[in-house]
Symmetry: C2
Subunit: 160 residues, 2 copies
């Protein structure tokens, strides 16, 4: 349907890679689904081996980037704020996380990883053998390219 423009991509002075586009958006969406499934399965398994549910591990992963308010967590986790209360309750009970009063606004509670929480978060990531092994199949240049492409799709702000 949309398959008509054949074009050639210059890559160097000598080598010529022909590149008639073979992949349409639907196929790419499908592959994202599959990739997400694999990544998620890998993640859930690694989380379980640290006695964490997927949601708890996801919260830890977000907090690994730095402290966050409950509200902010809810946004990143794409769920209701009341939900986060319970998840953080359970993590706090295990001393993986601490609630601190925010200085600037006494309504806000800043959630911080404890050292043990950091350890566990790192262990989960290190346990994702399937994904890590998959990444090892790429060389440095491919990793750069993949990084750049994902960033362009998912984190670039749409030009306004």
């Amino acid at each position: 349907m949309l398959e008509m423009v054949k074009f050639y991509r210059p890559v160097g002075t000598v080598v010529v890679m022909t590149a008639a586009p073979r992949v349409d958006t639907a196929q790419l969406m499908e592959l994202f689904s599959v990739s997400l499934g694999v990544f998620y399965g890998d993640f859930a398994l690694a989380a379980a081996s640290e006695n964490l549910t997927a949601s708890q591990a996801k919260a830890l992963a977000v907090l690994r980037r730095g402290p966050a308010a409950m509200r902010g967590l809810a946004e990143v986790l794409a769920c209701d704020a009341s939900n986060v209360t319970g998840i953080i309750d359970r993590l706090e009970k295990r001393d993986l996380v601490r609630r601190e009063a925010a200085a600037s606004d006494r309504r806000v509670k800043t959630v911080v990883l404890t050292p043990e929480g950091e350890r566990v978060a790192d262990a989960v990531r290190a346990g994702m053998r399937t994904t890590l092994d998959g990444l090892e199949r790429l060389d440095d240049g491919d990793r750069d390219r993949l990084y750049e492409l994902l960033e362009r799709v998912f984190v670039t702000r749409p030009a306004s």
Copy 2:
């Protein structure tokens, strides 16, 4: 924190792509987390607008590829088989899905999308505006490259 790779696009007939590696595995894992978070949020939102939970929509998405046994679904969804029973129950109650007896093995139940189920599954995918818009920022060649890279990481069987 997410410091970027600058890279060079072909602007003429001959272009040299430099490739000093700037991205390590940890950064890439982090970007996967973020990307899949965005993808998942987008997916959950699109699912909700069709009155589906994320799990139900995920099941529909898998079935969109073709009929599957309960057991197979559980494997792809990375959860217990008993769990799938409930999810399919609810989808069947809404006529999005049908259980059929498998001819070869009477223990097996093959789950099939109804036409309405197909419609809803497609609607969810079409509703993922954030992801679709993101993909539009890539040209055909980049899409090919992204596809190839993801495939290599997540679907290629490790050489044995």
